[in-house]
């Protein structure tokens, strides 16, 4: 079951960051036609987007290991974006 359109938009806006590097990674993730996100993935993305910018960037750039298995799948997608 995909996340509803408004939740998608909320996640998209929260992909606007203070660090340009994250903006760029997330811009690719959201590039048309847009990613498929189900409810569980939506929750994982929301959790990642709630992190401080520097911590999220460290995860995305593989500078630190991810300690939360629930985030792994979404993180892999962000890294591949």
């Amino acid at each position: 079951m995909p996340v509803d359109e408004r939740e998608r938009e909320r996640l998209r806006w929260r992909s606007r960051r203070g660090l340009l590097e994250l903006d760029l990674v997330l811009q690719r993730f959201w590039a048309p036609p847009g990613p498929e996100i189900d409810a569980a993935q939506g929750r994982a993305l929301a959790k990642l987007l709630a992190m401080p910018d520097n911590d999220l960037l460290d995860l995305v750039m593989d500078r630190v290991p991810n300690a939360d298995p629930a985030l792994e799948q979404m993180l892999v997608r962000l890294k591949a974006a």
Binding site: E5, R17, G18, L20, D23, Q27, N54, M61
Partner: protein
């Protein structure tokens, strides 16, 4: 659309370093303060600041605020106002110690004092030798600053309105500012924040350029709102550029890459710096390298499909040197340029970094205009304001110093102003209608111009016609092109008309601010016939103090320009007279 009204003593737009510092001053005094922010406060662009806060604490050796003041004035190429510069440099140690007491985890010396690192342009004894003046928290200074200030604001009961976008200023017939209209993203509701004082701390507008180090949120919102409300914009031609950002992305490639032996090539594979700087070549100063790169691109020798970038070659250094000495660069190139520098060159281009101009203020953060002086109830601080501390070029570490000093100063000025104020000034009958009309136009537009396309057109025009090195023919065409975009700007449209979290609507509203910022920049740049600081013109290569030792003021109405004198008189010390800026 219904317009609900909420009353506060003060409304602050922007929750980066300067907005948070100002809010803390006001909330701590017991005022009812609203802070509006498009994103969560600790995700403001201040988070990107790594270098530190410049302050003459003298923890690493002798230092003085007079030396810091001299460096800042010289850095500004004498366009900075010396009263504001004295004010900032004198107050810098105080705001840094305050921040330490707010819980900022500064790096420390063995004796417990704040560690200070060296930084380019900072000197002891009026340019004699380098001095260590930058107070930092590893490479996360901005991040730590935002967290310390945000937590103190929560304690002081500042009311945050997160994911709200300010739309327009509200002014009365006398020109006093009575607050702002703002859009709540969650609901699409528009609220008029009625305040006794309004403070803009919206940051810079670096997204006007195609290549920019700025985060996507930096769309010049405060500058755009001020311009639409009839406030002139000051010194908008001055933008700091960095020579080597990844083309198409903006992420910086440190100048250390050229220090380690990286070389710049044009599309023909020519090491062109040999022509521009035969002795030092690729190790020439930042402005010389930027100018050479811009000239190569302008003359058709840029690389790539659009001949719009330069190639930074590293592969001759070998994988061992690249991995050992430049590991971060390989990571950035692979991630953001999609090239592995061990095998291929990195596409780079001069990249916009910082906005020196902005909403004209004095050192108290009061917005001042030629027509009547201080605008009652209106204040600005940080990158969106122009005090003018940075003049034609900002010194490294002075951006965070500016945030803290001007944030606090503007807060103190608001406190003083409110002592003489009774209740809120009454709202005019048409209050908020300008913002509602803008929204109604957007929602009613059928088959309008695509927001992404128009934004791209503005950014490419600014990059090509008003970049780091400016040519007269390109500027003239640039002014025409930017003016010609006005029609398309008036027809931007969105397909998604929903009220709840409609990012398309927000981006269309941001585009209005990008356009005002870009147009002011282009018009001011074409008019200023000299080279000073970051404004570098091919046809007027020298600074011209006789004609141009003055600030530009751009008015949206009529695309009009006016000028005002630079204040060469500090508050308490002797003036530092203009001389050649040589390092």
């Amino acid at each position: 659309m219904a317009l609900s009204i909420r009353k506060f003593d003060v409304v602050i737009v922007g929750a980066g370093g300067s907005g948070l510092r100002a809010a803390l001053e006001l909330s701590s005094a017991g005022l009812k303060v609203a802070v509006l922010s498009k994103v969560f406060p600790t995700r403001s662009h201040t988070v990107a600041a790594q270098g530190g806060v410049g302050a003459a604490l003298g923890n690493m050796g002798e230092d003085s605020w007079q030396w810091h003041m001299y460096d800042t004035i010289k850095g500004s190429d004498w366009l900075g106002d010396q009263d504001a510069i004295e004010f900032m440099c004198r107050m810098a140690p105080e705001v840094v110690i305050e921040l330490e007491h707010f819980g900022m985890p500064f790096d420390r010396n063995d004796n417990g004092t704040i560690y200070q690192r060296p930084f380019g342009g900072h000197s002891a004894n009026f340019g004699e030798k380098p001095v260590q003046r930058s107070c930092c928290a590893a490479d996360r200074t901005g991040h730590a600053m935002l967290h310390a200030l945000y937590q103190r604001n929560v304690y002081a009961r500042t009311q945050f309105f997160v994911e709200w976008m300010a739309l327009d200023l509200v002014r009365d017939a006398e020109g006093a500012v009575l607050g702002v209209t703002a859009l709540e993203m969650e609901t699409g509701q528009v609220v008029l924040f009625h305040a006794k004082a309004t403070l803009f701390a919206t940051g810079g507008g670096g997204r006007i350029f195609h290549s920019s180090t700025n985060a996507f949120i930096n769309t010049g919102d405060g500058v755009g709102m001020a311009a639409r409300a009839g406030i002139p914009l000051e010194d908008m031609e001055f933008w700091q550029f960095h020579p080597t950002g990844v083309a198409g992305a903006g992420v910086l490639i440190t100048e250390g890459v050229r220090g380690e032996g990286g070389i710049l090539l044009n599309k023909n594979g020519e090491r062109f710096m040999e022509r521009y700087a035969p002795h030092v070549k690729d190790l020439a100063s930042r402005d010389v390298v930027s100018r050479a790169m811009a000239t190569e691109i302008k003359e058709g020798r840029g690389a790539g499909e659009h001949a719009d970038h330069i190639l930074l070659k590293l592969d001759h250094l070998g994988p061992e040197v690249i991995d050992k000495r430049l590991p971060g660069i390989r990571e950035i190139a692979i991630k953001f340029a999609n090239v592995d520098p061990i095998k291929e060159p990195i596409p780079v281009v001069p990249t916009c970094h910082y906005q020196m101009g902005g909403i004209p203020t004095n050192y108290r953060g009061e917005v001042v205009v030629p027509e009547g002086g201080a605008v009652p109830g209106f204040y600005a601080a940080g990158e969106c304001g122009c005090a003018s501390i940075h003049g034609a070029n900002r010194l490294g570490t002075n951006s965070l110093t500016d945030l803290l000093v001007m944030g606090k100063s503007a807060g103190m000025s608001v406190l003083e102003y409110l002592k003489g104020q009774g209740s809120h000034r009454p709202l005019p009958k048409d209050a908020g209608e300008n913002a509602l009309a803008r929204l109604a136009r957007l929602d009613g537009q059928q088959g309008g111009e695509d927001v992404n396309e128009v934004r791209g057109e503005i950014q490419r025009t600014m990059q090509a016609h008003c970049g780091v090195f400016r040519f007269p023919d390109m500027l003239a065409q640039g002014v025409e092109k930017i003016r010609a975009l006005e029609g398309r700007m008036g027809r931007t449209g969105i397909k998604d008309k929903s009220k709840v979290f409609n990012t398309a609507r927000i981006e269309a509203l941001e585009l209005d601010n990008i356009y005002e910022t870009a147009r002011a920049t282009m018009v001011c740049a074409q008019a200023r016939e000299e080279s000073r600081g970051a404004h570098d013109r091919a046809d007027f290569p020298k600074r011209d103090d006789e004609k141009w030792l003055k600030h530009s003021l751009w008015y949206k109405a009529g695309d009009r320009l006016a000028y005002k004198a630079v204040n060469l008189k500090p508050l308490t010390v002797e003036s530092i007279e203009p001389k050649a800026r040589v390092y």
